[in-house]
Symmetry: C2
Subunit: 331 residues, 2 copies
């Protein structure tokens, strides 16, 4: 069963409910049991809500009736096989770290996103959880992303690149350079291809790109924004005269299919990696189909034993932190 | 007269020579005087060349006959009104800092780029000169970029944003947060709109976006790569069946014009800001028209007194460094 947070979608409870029905999988919705929209669904009462404007850690600690907190607890208690939320990323991250907890020895969880670009799937991480990271964090991200692509997307020996401002090993900030050195000397279970550039994010040659959360967030949003801008400009070019609108009509179906390919709703959302359970964050603007895809992604991650495979990969590489994990050192 | 570096274009001397002819402005080409391709042009003999694989500062210091060094010296001697190079950005930056020199009190020059996206021009800086910057550098970049857009592109009160992973003032790395505070308290000559996100780079609402060179380089290349990938995917969608290829034929002209709009060749290249002279770096892959546009950009920057206006804006804001400028503290 997947625990689905009823709160946080721009479209309200109705979108979540419709997504739960569409998913075709066992789903329990965590939200206000009295809400009419949720009628007929498996609902666990959780009337509280954590908004984007609240300080996530404090809110998670104080609001025990919040839907995201209850969903995270269901995962840690083994009642749910994963959680899905379309609400605040910060709240989901805080609830997951506090209740689902990190894999022992993981420094920081990462937000990983399948980029909404045509062609080959590329996983970008961290896409926003950690503004500043140390080299050892980037090294763990590489293994976490590789394990996800192998387990959940069925990619054999995923090609992992380190995002920098040049392909040469000496390019980048001091932290990136040190991460490069460590990754280049990593065990043969990691298929590290070296530094990659911003243009490689959409180049179709890679499976995983590792970076800090500040750069990753900006790169992700730049890619989303550029896709939207270019598709819109082409649509306007196509429909801006009677003659070309005939052309527009003829190609509409094909461009529509392409738009599906670059639509974040088809991807199913971001996934939190480095935790002891599965947590997927859907876009706030998700359609019901987007919510359903997020639920399917969470279920697949559970069924393919992503957590165990991640843990094994990190252990085998010897990159887990040996000191005891602090209770909550996540920013 | 604009000093044009003959070396460095992927297309060789022929592309540079053709660009010089196309520009329609007084151009002196710095390169091997004996080369047949340069016949008929105003040539200053400079047979030496600095490649992408050389350490820029060392190469600029040791190769006095290098074309980029001679071109930079022509600017500092007042013989040329600006320089244009399609060669190594690092070499051009080093030659410019050593010979053209920074405006007194400027911490770091920045590479500024007009983003190749449809619609409103947006200047991104720094796009690659400085991997790591301090808050006071970001503050200077804001004034430098604003002065460029006002002087060279005729934008009144350019809207300046600070690139971060969220619009709220509290988002970003510690350096970004501090830069935000300083910019928010800046004089009224700067039209600072606050933090902006990666998606705003192509959103058409801004004129200048300020960031560090690592993030800027990655964002720029992500945007270029996404534009290419989406345009290619649409072209393939349009031409992949007999029926839709009729559509493709009908819209080809319009999409072609759009492609011109997102082609780096139409922009004219990157411009180095914060120097005592005009320096434009064209794409290595420039066409002759791209080189000609870079020459025109350099000439316009000179004619519109960009340097003086930048200096005045920095002085009026009180953000120039008061201590004497070191000889070469640029990384």
């Amino acid at each position: 069963m997947i625990a689905l947070d009823a709160h946080g979608a721009d479209g309200g409870l109705g979108v979540i409910a419709e997504g739960a029905r569409l998913a075709g999988l066992p789903v329990r919705v965590y939200g206000p049991a009295s809400a009419g929209e949720l009628e007929g669904l498996d609902v666990a009462d959780a009337p509280g809500f954590i908004g984007n404007d609240e300080e996530p850690v404090r809110a998670v600690r104080s609001k025990d009736d919040a839907s995201i907190v209850r969903a995270a607890r269901a995962v840690s208690a083994g009642e749910a096989e994963g959680l899905v939320s379309a609400g605040s990323t910060g709240a989901a991250l805080a609830a997951a770290v506090l209740h689902v907890k990190r894999i022992r020895g993981v420094h920081r969880p990462a937000v990983a996103v399948l980029l909404p670009v045509p062609g080959r799937d590329i996983l970008l991480l961290d896409a926003g959880a950690n503004n500043e990271v140390r080299p050892e964090h980037l090294v763990q991200f590489a293994y976490m992303g590789s394990a996800f692509m192998e387990a959940v997307r069925g990619v054999e020996r995923p090609k992992v690149g380190l995002l920098s401002n040049g392909e040469e090993a000496g390019k980048g900030t001091p932290d990136v350079k040190e991460a490069h050195e460590r990754l280049a000397g990593a065990d043969t279970n990691l298929n590290f291809v070296g530094n990659v550039e911003g243009s490689d994010l959409t180049g179709g040659e890679l499976d995983v790109v590792v970076t800090d959360g500040f750069t990753g967030n900006i790169a992700l949003k730049a890619i989303e924004g550029t896709s939207r801008t270019v598709v819109r400009a082409i649509r306007e070019a196509v429909t801006s005269s009677p003659i070309s609108s005939v052309g527009g009509l003829l190609i509409r179906g094909r461009v529509g299919r392409l738009r599906d390919e670059i639509d974040p709703n088809t991807v199913g959302g971001a996934i939190l990696l480095g935790l002891r359970g599965v947590a997927v964050i859907a876009h706030g603007g998700s359609t019901p189909e987007g919510i359903a895809n997020a639920v399917r992604l969470a279920q697949r991650a559970h069924d393919e034993r992503m957590i165990e495979r991640t843990q094994r990969a990190l252990e085998a590489a010897g990159v887990l932190r040996s000191a005891p994990t602090g209770s909550f050192d996540h920013q």
